[in-house]
Amino acid sequence: MDWNTMLSYNWGAMMPEFIILGTAMILSILDLFWPKHFNRRKLAWLALTGIILACLSLISLLSFESVSILSDTFRLDSFAKAFKLLLLFGAGLIILLAESYEPQEGLHEHRGEFYYLFLTALLGAMIMSSSGDLITLFVGLELLSLSSYILVGIRKHDLKSNEASMKYVINGGISTAITLFGMSYLYGVTGSVNLAEMSRTMAALTDGQLQYIMGLAFFMVFVGLSFKIAAAPFHMWAPDVYEGAPTPVVAFLSVISKIAGFVIILRIFLSLFQTASGDVFGALDFLEKNNIYIASLAGLTIIIGNVIALRQQNLKRLFAYSSIAHAGYLLVAVATLGGGYFLMDTVWYYLLAYVLMNIGVFAVIQLLSSQSGSDDISILAGLGKKSPYLAIAFTVFILSLAGIPGTTGFIGKLNIFLGTFITEPGHFVLAGIMIAGTIVSYVYYFGLLVQVFFRPFHSDKVIKIRSGLYTVLIICVIGTIIFGVAPNLAFDFIHDQFGDFTDFISSK
């Protein structure tokens, strides 16, 4: 690999990543050298600028054919573009949240780190979505993980934050190890770490013993990755970590981390296991044969998330369980592969919806909890009277999370259901669990609305909304409604830009 080959690569494909990387570096340098009294909050706007630039460059790349550089370790295919857009969009909103973040005991000493760690984590996620290779995938994953470990513990003097971060590290470490161990088997079976090559080998694999090992690897990778998306069986960290982490970080974990988790799951599953042969005759493919496992984990996740959420009194914990449940819904789409027709639309759209509604919810929570210093459900009490617009925004998010028509959440769920029913035999049990879970979720979601509208308020402190947070709220509300009422804005966009994601597997 000489200089010429290096230059021959189409580096432009990596432009968004470079921008994020550059911004992160600039931020860290500025943070280092700027005098102490200088308000680090301004760095957030810089970070936001970086994200917007990255986003713009990504948009300019949209029309390009899919390219892969660095001997197919980095791919910019439709899949990568689509999900990077989501990641950048979500990250932009979260940075705005972080800009407005004002915990009661103050954060000024670490505020700088706060912002650029977001960027590095984002960078990890972006690399994951673009990787064509297990190594980059893993490196991206770890970049994301390590940054978020620190982010969770950024409130150094807060006991909960410390503990959350410690728990996150330990669980994360175990999950990483399990994933990696699985990956090592995959490498052993195929003798390659390039996804395209591996997929070719695995498709031709008819040896029973190797298939068995492949199965082992599949489960290890899957369980390891279920940590990232907070799905059963690796979901239990989520409530504790969410509770302890600063609110923007929770939003980050529940949105960006989750998107990244699904990105890597889809990457691995679709490129490796969907085409891998599932039996010695090569008649079935692997996922087709084993999707029952994913399906049952999905069902379990939905049940756990929704049922335990019923008992939560802490908002963040509640939304941790809610996010577990939503991971379950998405896993349904993965398990059924969207019925063969809807997978990408479904996942992408659902994640878009999830970005909007979840960040919106956390924006409200952040606002209220920083004012009252508590995360208890009761901080919502009387919001409807005190600040009707905020209450309406919150209602929109909650309705969307509950999947009520007119919001993005509904269309997202609709898509998932379509996938479960279109095949023969349909996944009726899974759909049944999902619908039951949705109904159970009504109880706690509407319980929040009961607090907002039916309960009297305790303190009549005027709620002050910082402009960053305000923007987030407005974007999220508008997005939730617009994409709920006219979902074809999103559907047409992905269909026009990415077609059917046909360039996903084929290597350049």
């Binding site: 190594i135 390590l146 410390n162 503990e163 470490g173 190890a177 990696l180 090592s184 490498y187």
Partner: protein, 104 residues
């Protein structure tokens, strides 16, 4: 390279992984827990290297992968220990089972 079959490496890695897992899940001291996690990661490294040399289709990429892994493991340990330190400052303990202010 004579005699030692691939399966031996794999079993070694598996055993190492299990020891690591056991340690990670049972030890009270957070430092040992972190070390156990390192152990698990290294078990994967053994796998990678072994496959790289003795796998069905030997290739160098396995070793490259393990290099990356080692680096990452180091970073993870560093982060982990840093977090542990800040926890220790506040709680004066490194016992994992005492970290349960957040539950249910």
């Amino acid at each position: 390279m004579t005699g030692v079959p691939l399966s031996a490496y794999l079993v070694l890695a598996l055993v190492l992984f299990c020891i690591g897992l056991y340690g990670a899940l049972t030890k009270r001291n957070a430092v040992i827990v972190l070390i156990s996690i390192e152990l698990m990661l290294n078990a994967a490294n053994i796998n990678l290297v072994a496959f790289s040399k003795l796998g069905v289709t030997p290739s160098i990429t396995g070793q490259v992968f393990s290099l990356f892994t080692i680096t990452i493991a180091a970073a993870e340990a560093a982060v982990g220990l840093a977090i542990l330190m800040s926890l220790y400052r506040n709680r004066k303990t490194v016992n994992v089972d005492e970290m349960d202010i957040m539950k249910h």
